[in-house]
Symmetry: C2
Subunit: 289 residues, 2 copies
Amino acid sequence: MEFGKIIDGKEISSSVRQSVKEDVDKLIAQGLRAPCLAVILVGERKDSQTYVRNKKKTAADLGINSIDKILPESATQQEVIDIVRAFNNDSQIDGILVQLPLPSHINEETILNEIDISKDVDGFHPINIGKLSMRGRKPEFEPCTPKGCIELINRSGIEIEGKRAVVLGRSNIVGLPVAMMLNNRNATVTICHSKTQDLKERCKEADILVVAIGQAKLVKKDWIKPGAVVIDVGMNTDENGKLCGDVDYAEAKEVAGHITPVPGGVGPMTIAMLMKNTLTSAQKKLLNC
Amino acid sequence: MEFGKIIDGKEISSSVRQSVKEDVDKLIAQGLRAPCLAVILVGERKDSQTYVRNKKKTAADLGINSIDKILPESATQQEVIDIVRAFNNDSQIDGILVQLPLPSHINEETILNEIDISKDVDGFHPINIGKLSMRGRKPEFEPCTPKGCIELINRSGIEIEGKRAVVLGRSNIVGLPVAMMLNNRNATVTICHSKTQDLKERCKEADILVVAIGQAKLVKKDWIKPGAVVIDVGMNTDENGKLCGDVDYAEAKEVAGHITPVPGGVGPMTIAMLMKNTLTSAQKKLLNC
């Protein structure tokens, strides 16, 4: 049995970005236009501004166009809806991303439901989640962070089918969709959450453990089955103000077979998958595939 | 610990139907119209004809109007779509049900996606399944058989929150949605299927076991945790041609705390829940609630 093999999200995401760039170059070489991602940011949250800047920079690096619409905190819901609709109708735009969270006077569900599902590169529309959950249906796009988790597992040469997978957390953005994607790939999936009894015992049953519960270093060494694959989606700060995951990495890596560090694990995958979804959307439109 | 308590689906469904009838009577007493269910049947399958007849009879018993559209096996997909659209636009119709399976030349997904989600009383539209799966979203309607399973558990006085629930089967009609509904109610849910290893051991972990896998008497006495609640969605015929479930009832009831028989368990709940969904749809429209 192998122990402590690090799943290098920086390297894997770089490889994904490289392959996206090559496919973008192919579109251009065929005389077609570059993919285009439209980003909507409402308000002045520093973290949201950073995320948007990073997305635009990555897009530029890969030859993907991006346009943004920055609105003041005071923007009305209708103004945001109008922009989404204009982007829906613009045939030059392949993906629409509304940076979350939105100011509290704007209903997130209402806005996300407005996005044309053929441009929902975040994969958050209920139709996309419904199709992701159902047998024999295919969503337009798989949500970026869960898709990144699966990519990390696949690229580490780990078989998913027949494994026991435990997902800690059931958010719409990570926990629930990653559980559905593991189920689609024939793992036997258990979904754990704040009301789960004996959380430690449940985690210990996992061959593949995905943790997305937002509690710094919750998962300890003795929560992990020896040799298990541990995917840590957490992004917290520890007692010293240092970035850390939901898993106590220093001790967990002694027991886990494969494990993602924080930072440098799942984090870099989300943007890479967003770029991949934007490319896929452009390819569907431009190549009719 | 209690053993072998029978969950009586006939009695519980009768009580649900009674309460639907009372609410229909209230609508009429207020001078409003009766709820109306529209049923579309394509082809001449004997089992489908029986299901449709039963649904219409139950509706009539409860004061719910029903109309049907019977099409020959040779009907085109466009003809079915046109009928669905006409029903969508008819303000007198509260629920639309397309009897499945459809003939093989008609795409089931295409047809089901045409149904206005505010009339999707079967709850099979991907938007409904998406909202059922997501936190903080509410589907227009919960699918009838899974809703019936939850009702049986609730009316037996069994707490779901914090329990381990295992669902055997992941179909769009039963397994997947019932897993999501148990998760919504704060059970810790494991979804098992044909690729699950050690199926017996997984079942034995369940405080609540829902079996919907379509194999006669698969689940034996030693697959069940003593005292567990066993909900059997199966409808098979045994070696003597007798109707039986996916659970070996005769021996399972010695170990289970509560168990549904087949027939007389989940079976009668599906139609009762369809009537309840049709009533709810009418109430939303007529009472603006």
